[in-house]
């Protein structure tokens, strides 16, 4: 039996359907990513699985415990880090950790082996108020607090949102280490580039899951011809490229634009038509997860 099993889970707030019959499962010791933009329903899903909300329809279980019936039992064995910084800003780093340990009825020393690799990085600031930490340090502290009671499942709602690239990297390294210790991790992120760091990912948008697979598997499903195009004037290029026959899709992608071609596309005709643009380059490229996401979203 899988650690997290979700089947047909739906949740509405008034007329807004935040989640629309979502189903997936996460294996023990897996690092599972929910990838999707804001408003995809990720936070609602987290709140349902951490028993903070009751689902409209559908069922879900954590460690074999039903999220409605056994919600109190679930609460003692999951670790939850909300998307918003949710520690006490006027308590110091150390006090926060002690507080959360006592909340779960454990001693900081007992869980120190698990928390230490993360907590060591913020320990020099242990007398500082949590509210005065930098974004990255806040997240490290929050993660430490979420781990203090040795949870078997860890729910991390957008842990890397709003923090710098170095801290993001460090945080993902920590997640890999926690995974090695056998903790099942469900993590959400709006950053597509972080998806490849997960074992498996679910792409979600507007309350629905568009596809579930390993990051590689997801990319391999992309069966269209993809080109990367550049020119000096990127905006004009985007407008112009969309007019060319055989261009199914053209969208900005980092430094370049990505262009999805259909059967009628002819690369020579494309360059001829856009001759006026200086320094135009076009070359085939490999799809990234974002390309898959955009493709699935259009369907």
């Amino acid at each position: 039996m899988d650690v997290i099993e979700v089947s047909g889970l739906s949740k509405s707030f008034g007329k807004v359907k935040a989640l629309d019959s979502v189903s997936f499962s996460v294996k023990r010791g897996e690092l599972f990513g929910l990838i999707g933009p804001d408003g995809a329903g990720k936070t609602t899903l987290f709140r349902l699985l951490t028993t903070l909300l009751n689902p409209g329809t559908g069922t879900a279980s954590i460690d074999g415990l039903d999220i409605i019936k056994d919600y109190l039992k679930i609460r003692s064995r999951v670790g939850y880090m909300p998307g918003r910084f949710s520690l006490y800003p006027d308590l110091t780093v150390e006090e926060n950790l002690i507080f959360f340990a006592s909340l779960f009825g454990v001693k900081v020393e007992d869980s120190y082996d698990l928390v230490a690799p993360i907590y060591k990085q913020i320990e020099p600031f242990r007398t500082r108020q949590a509210g005065k930490l930098s974004g990255g340090m806040k997240q490290k502290l929050a993660l430490s607090c979420a781990l203090i009671h040795h949870p078997s499942v860890l729910f991390l709602d957008e842990p890397t949102t709003g923090i710098d690239a170095v801290s993001r990297g460090e945080l993902w390294d920590m997640l890999q280490k926690l995974k090695e210790k056998g903790i099942t991790i469900l993590v959400s992120t709006p950053y597509m580039d972080e998806a490849s760091l997960c074992d498996r990912i679910a792409l979600c948008n507007e309350g629905r899951i568009l596809g579930i697979d390993s990051p590689q598997g997801i990319v391999e499903k992309f069966n269209l011809k993809l080109y990367a195009i550049r020119a000096d004037n990127m905006f004009t290029l985007l407008e112009a490229a969309r007019q060319v026959e055989g261009v199914a899709e053209c969208y900005p992608f980092g430094q370049t634009h990505h262009l999805i071609a259909d059967e009628k596309f002819d690369i020579h005709r494309f360059t001829e038509q856009l001759e006026a643009l200086s320094n135009l380059t076009i070359k085939p490229t490999k799809p990234a997860i974002e390309d898959v996401f955009i493709k699935l979203m259009k369907q």
């Binding site: 709140r47 028993t51 909300l53 003692s76 909300p82 949710s86 006490y88 959360f100 779960f104």
Partner: protein
């Protein structure tokens, strides 16, 4: 925290002295052409009276200036042949007035109070003194502080317990810490009750402080027994705490909690519980409405015990009403309390 402890002290002192309806420290100056023994005797009476502060002797031409500048509120002008006229009066002979009081009437209250005081100090007009005696049954010195103490107590505990409890619980929701607290094995009810403890302790300290201030600073008699007052106040504390809990269960933001507290509690408590306006004077509708305000019952009971000297047994009706309200508030808030986010 400090502010919470200071508010009651400030309120007590403010209502007890500054905002009292009685008039204190009336500055009085005297114009006396001849400072004879009889004049000094009258001036001495005035100067030794607690209500007056003797400013000093001034000249005739300074009267207007002193009154205008507000340095004095009353000027007593003695007649030039004061001694002789007084003799005439005591001999029963008709005489012109011997003292003229020039009063700054820009504050009508102060003015009329000063006149009344002066008349009672000075010889003659015995009928006015008799009037005072019959009117002030429980408050012979007309000390307004007596009346304010129960009101302040009713107000402070609502303020500290209900408002602060609800705001501090709702704050957890707003900051997001409630989310983390809920996803823990600790039952939320326990969390909420734990949050109430500090406010309960603070309120108990405040209660003791108010009672001490009332007794030693304002000389409130409390002849009904301190323990009765104390136990009824404890009941009122629980009531306020449960009211705060109730508010915290129905609001999501601190602002909303504050607004509800202010609208639903502070204003009615101030206006309808008899702190400022006597309930007997209310129109029928408001009189009925005041029945659902807990502070009304508490203040009435405390008034009876503090000022009229009633024992705890004598306020069983108020006590029962408060007990019933507490039960209802706790019951409803526990039922409404949700250990989920919605």
């Amino acid at each position: 925290m400090l502010i919470v402890m200071l508010i009651p002290v400030i309120l007590m002192v403010m209502f007890g002295f500054a905002i009292s309806t009685e008039v204190n420290n009336i500055n009085i100056a005297v114009v006396a052409p001849e400072r004879t023994g009889a004049v000094k005797d009258v001036v001495g009476r005035i100067a030794h009276n607690d209500y007056f502060t003797f400013y000093g002797y001034i000249d005739q031409d300074q009267i207007d200036k002193k009154l205008r500048s507000g340095k004095v509120s009353v000027v007593a002008v003695f007649a030039s042949n004061f001694d002789r006229r007084m003799e005439q009066i005591s001999a029963g002979l008709p005489s012109k007035p011997v003292i003229q009081f020039i009063v700054d009437a820009s504050n009508v209250n102060t003015a009329s109070a000063s006149i009344a005081y002066l008349q009672s100090i000075l010889p003659g007009t015995a009928s006015q003194q008799a009037m005072f005696e019959t009117r002030m049954l429980f408050n012979p010195q007309m000390k307004s502080a007596y009346n304010f103490v129960p009101g302040i107590m009713g107000l402070i505990f609502i303020l500290v317990c209900a408002i602060m409890t609800s705001v501090s619980i709702v704050r957890e929701k707003e900051v997001g810490t409630m989310e983390v607290l809920l996803v823990s094995p600790v039952r939320p009810v326990k969390i909420v009750f734990a949050k109430m403890i500090p406010y309960f302790v603070i309120s108990c300290v405040i209660l003791v402080m108010i009672l001490l201030l009332a007794h030693y600073l304002l000389d409130v008699p409390m002849s009904g027994g301190v323990w009765g007052i104390f136990s009824l106040s404890l009941l009122y504390l629980f009531l306020s705490l449960s009211l705060g809990l109730l508010i915290s269960t129905v609001t999501k933001t601190q602002v909303a909690a504050l607004l509800i507290s202010a609208m639903v509690m502070l204003v009615p408590v101030l206006l309808l519980s008899g702190i400022i306006f006597p309930i007997e004077n209310f129109p029928k509708f408001f009189e009925l409405l005041s029945n659902i305000i807990p502070a009304r019952w508490y203040i009435a009971a405390i008034r009876k015990m503090m000022i009229q000297g009633a024992a705890l047994a004598a306020v069983w009706k108020e006590g029962t009403v408060l007990l019933g309200m507490t039960a209802v508030f706790i019951g409803v808030s526990l039922k409404k309390f949700n250990d989920k986010l919605e």
